[in-house]
């Protein structure tokens, strides 16, 4: 039995290769997303390109192909791309690449990238950025972190960064320079590369688990390099930051347009150092306010004391015045009593005098002289008045007093 007409595998592969090279004699421009990228020891860059289903975030790939940038072109292409877009060639980025279609009998289908149009990626990034913004606004998440109230004292800080990142060191150094006491807790995360977005979201989740322990979250990222900012424009991370229950401060370290994360964060600053400066300034303001309050407290206390003292002085002098008035009045009253007393006394004396005078008159009317005038006589013997016959019988010589004088008489027995 003769085998039916057929090709060997190699013959088939050669045919495919020939057809492809005829069909794609010249390089073509292809748009795709990088899903994987590795630079091997020899300096060649191997990529996986994919195309995802439209209108889906974690869309299923509907096409996939291997691609390579040879060492000779890689340095130039990568550097140019990074300079233009501020973005390293990395998984997750959509590119427009000029490719030569290759087919190798042993290794199969691959694309050799000879140029990358950075304007396409820029446009795509901007497009994504605008879409992210529009979506967050539509969902109502856009303003959420802005409307949180930044605590007066931002002292307990959750820092999301990479422990080794220069930006994190800068941040800590600047805070330490101020001399204020902060309590920093680092939530380590990849701040660049394909894993950055999920890693930062994971760190945010860990902070949220103990949100009561923090006043604010700071997201800082190494200074210098401006690349790999894409994740800060990504929807998922932006959405997490916007809806985070604590105020978020960013110092992502770039001077181009603000990223979406910056836009939704409570407060965005250009660099980690600037975030630290902002925190220090806030501390200074609070310290100043506290000093002012202490000053005011002292002044108010002193003036309250003075008032109270003055009130006491017034009471004291009123007391003096009232007591003096009172005693004076009593004195006057007593003096009046005195006067009245004197009057009464005079009156009484006068009455007494009159009574005495009347008595005198009575007495006068009964005086011996008056009686003698009436013709009575007083008999005396040896100067003593004689009032009984018995006494008279014993006398021989008597003195007789009459109204006009005294004469002596001798009695005959």
């Amino acid at each position: 039995m003769t085998p039916r007409a057929h090709l060997t595998l190699l013959e088939l592969q050669r045919k495919v290769k020939l057809t492809l090279s005829e069909q794609f004699a010249l390089p073509v421009w292809v748009s795709a997303e990088i899903s994987d990228l590795k630079v091997n020891y020899s300096g060649h860059c191997y990529l996986e390109l994919i195309e995802k289903e439209q209108k889906s975030d974690n869309g299923v790939p509907v096409a996939q192909a291997r691609a390579v940038i040879w060492r000779s072109a890689y340095a130039r292409i990568a550097a140019y791309f990074e300079a233009e877009t501020g973005q390293r060639l990395a998984p997750g980025i959509r590119i427009l690449a000029q490719v030569v279609v290759n087919y190798h009998e042993l290794y199969g289908f691959s694309l050799q990238i000879t140029a990358i149009d950075s304007a396409y990626t820029l446009g795509d990034m901007e497009q994504q950025r605008l879409e992210t913004i529009a979506r967050l606004q539509k969902e109502g998440a856009w303003e959420m972190n802005h409307t949180l109230e930044m605590p007066l004292l931002v002292q307990r800080i959750a820092v999301i960064s990479s422990a080794q990142a220069a930006g994190y060191q800068d941040f800590c150094k600047e805070l330490a320079r101020s001399g204020y006491h902060y309590r920093l807790t680092l939530f380590d995360a990849f701040m660049q590369g394909a894993a950055a977005e999920e890693s930062i979201i994971d760190a945010l989740g860990r902070v949220a688990e103990q949100q009561e322990a923090f006043d604010a979250v700071v997201i800082v990222r190494g200074g210098g390099s401006t690349s790999d900012l894409n994740c800060f424009n990504a929807y998922r991370l932006s959405s997490h930051v916007a809806q985070f229950p604590l105020p978020v401060l960013t110092g992502i370290g770039h001077d181009k347009d603000q990223s979406v994360v910056d836009l939704v964060a409570h407060t965005a600053l250009k660099t980690p150092t600037a975030v630290a400066g902002w925190l220090n300034e806030r501390m200074e303001r609070i310290e100043g306010w506290l000093e002012g309050a202490a000053q005011q407290l002292a002044e108010l206390t002193v003036s309250r004391m003075r008032e109270a003292e003055l009130r006491l002085e017034q009471r004291m002098s009123e007391l003096n015045r009232l007591a003096m008035e009172r005693t004076l009045r009593e004195q006057l009253l007593l003096e009046k009593f005195d006067e009245r007393l004197a009057e009464r006394l005079t009156q009484a004396l006068r009455n007494e005098q009159r009574r005495l005078e009347r008595a005198a008159e009575v007495v006068e009317s009964r005086s011996p002289q008056q009686i003698l005038q009436l013709g009575f006589a007083i008999l005396r013997a040896d100067g003593k008045a004689i009032s009984t016959t018995e006494t008279l019988k014993r006398q021989s010589t008597l003195q007789v007093e009459l109204a006009d004088g005294t004469t002596e008489i001798t009695l005959k027995q």
Binding site: M305, A308, E318, L319, L322, R326, T327, E330
Partner: protein, 63 residues
Amino acid sequence: MAKKTIKYSDAIQEIEQILEKFRNEQLDVDKLASEVKRASELITACKKRLKEVEEEVANILEK
């Protein structure tokens, strides 16, 4: 007379009461001296308390 323990506000109230008696002339002359004495003792106590509080406050604010 619990002079040591009397509250400032109570002392002030008592001073006012004494003054009120003076103003209304309700005071017996016999009690005049003792009331004046009581009121000025209270005022002195209040002044002393004020001074203490002032020093306390100064100390607190210095820290």
